[in-house]
């Protein structure tokens, strides 16, 4: 199994613990990664489409040239690229225009065949759950975990859950928590926004969302929350100390990246998954995992 790896800006920027843990987990799973190095940021929903679609078309063309599907480790990268890919695949005239105006000069052409998949989807749809289960070395028994998807791993439907069968994607993280042996602590906002996109425009509301999601999870007895989106992580972890002030009480809920979570079940130690780099202390998770070792 081999993928063109698109790590995204945040896994090497604000969440530098994400990139190495994803690479280690891929190695353990014997998933080969060829990193796309000379490609641009997806635009993250901030850049307008007239700029981000050509940039993403270029990324897809590079992967197509390698004959590989793309693997992402960020719900936002996944969502923005999936939406761009949907437009480029479903409208050949639009794709041709972008090829002609932006990619031809570099000798590139996007033919519309590249698949873009988040690691979470790859585990379920390509890798296979039986194979994954056979590699679990440390079932995370007794660890109480809430899922938090990130909007763009669930919506919009045409790009993310285009068929009835793929609507199961909306539940993958819930399923994975139980597959890895942990206890699922469901929360009402698991598919909602973390608040990150409005941190600039409306900080108060953004922090209120952090407080709402992490607070509910904590109240329901979770030890931690797991997310496939590093932007959610930036807000839920990085801004949790400030969100506590909104709520008026301590929350202290560790937020774990998806690859870290999988890595712990595969037998990696918390240190190898770089849990210590988080803003909210992950001590609770570490001590539970140590007890399981």
């Amino acid at each position: 199994m081999k993928y063109a790896f698109y790590p995204g800006c945040v896994s090497r920027g604000g969440c530098p613990e994400l990139y190495p843990s994803a690479v280690k987990v891929a190695q353990k799973l014997e998933v080969e990664l060829e990193e796309l190095k000379d490609v641009g940021c997806t635009g993250a929903g901030v850049l307008p489409q007239y700029l981000s679609d050509p940039i993403n078309a270029r990324t897809f063309a590079k992967a197509e040239g390698l004959g590989l599907p793309i693997m992402t480790i960020c719900s936002t990268c996944q969502g923005v690229m999936a939406q761009a890919n949907y437009r480029l695949k479903s409208d050949p005239a639009y794709r041709e225009k972008i090829n002609r105006e932006y990619l031809a000069e570099e000798g590139l052409e996007y033919r519309g065949t590249t698949e873009v998949k988040h690691l979470l989807w790859i585990l379920f749809e390509d890798y296979g759950l039986d194979r994954l289960k056979s590699l679990i070395r440390r079932p995370l028994k007794g660890l109480k975990v809430s899922p938090f998807y990130g909007c763009f791993l669930r919506r919009p439907p045409e790009a993310i859950t285009p068929t009835k069968e793929l609507s199961r994607r909306k539940n993958y993280l819930d399923e994975l928590i139980e597959i890895l042996g942990a206890d699922l602590v469901d929360i009402s906002g698991k598919g909602k926004c973390c608040g990150f996109p409005i941190l600039t425009a409306s900080e108060e509301n953004s922090l209120a969302m952090v407080a709402k999601h992490t607070g509910e999870s904590k109240e329901k007895g979770a030890d931690c929350m797991v997310t496939p989106c590093p932007l959610c992580h930036l807000n839920l972890d990085g801004n949790q100390p400030r969100a506590q002030a909104v709520r008026g009480e301590k929350i202290d809920l560790p937020i774990i990246h998806l690859p870290q979570f999988v890595g712990l079940a595969l037998g990696f130690d918390p240190e190898e998954m770089q849990l210590k780099r988080h803003i909210v202390s992950t001590r609770v998770v570490e001590s539970r995992v140590e007890m399981l070792a």
């Binding site: 945040v10 530098p16 641009g40």
Partner: protein
Amino acid sequence: MQITFKVYRKDPEGNGKPGRSEYTVDLSDDATVMDGLLKIRDELDGTLAFRASCLRGYCGECTMRISGKSTFACTAKVSAFTKKGPEIALDPIRNIPVIKDLVFDWDAFLWNKIKAVKPWLEPREGPANEEHRLPDAVMKDLRQVMSCYYCGLCDEGCTVLPVDFDFLGPAALTKAYRVAFDPRDRDGKERLRIAEQPKGVWDCVHCFEASEHCPRGIAPTERIVALRDKAFQMGISHEKVARHHQSFAASVKESGWVDEGRLAVESEGLTNIKGLMKLLPTAAKALVRGKAPLPYVHSKRPGADRIKKIFEKGERERK
């Protein structure tokens, strides 16, 4: 079949404390939830309050939560909700104040917000003595937006309203789109200005919940994004958001990827000492945890020059 409805009750004239009433009624196999409600009201409890009008899914009046799913009572078949047992819970939709039982406050939730976006056309001067005609493509887009029947499902799904009820919400902002994008209006800019005020388009997280919830395929999220793009184009936008977008675009243009350190500082504004001070505790913690190693370096990605060319070409064509 015998179905038990467990219905949310709130009596504004009683002690005001919400509760739940249970009613068991006999219904045919193809009955809708509305059939059940009408039967309860006619035969068991005339005090139960709910809204109903067309009874065929045209009007959007009977929006409610049926065993947790937000939809219309008149088109929801009872059989779709009784697979696990003959019980159905009925609740008012979320994010909206309730007046009585399943009746929520349209004024607070929708009409006041719609009024706030000035939802009427101020006609610009058209051709003399004839209709002001529009190209079909423009009308096709607007017609889709005009098919909104204010059912409230987009606001019900909204991520922002539960933390800030003053947010205008997707339904009202979609109405703003309808007017701002109508070429017959002489002051689309005014509508954009209203929509970009605090509690307007910039408070939207573009999570696509509204689009997913909309039963008419109007795509409110995409409408809000279009309002933002247009506001940017016309040079009207939230000051801090504008700085954030400019910084984001500049770092991708120059290096191929986002410089998060620069983005945080430039979004606050280089002369905004108070704003910058606010970043310090998190920045200090990030340093201690090894999240942001020193010295802070943001290097160019290998394909950066190509990305820059895409920017230059795209920006040129946009002008």
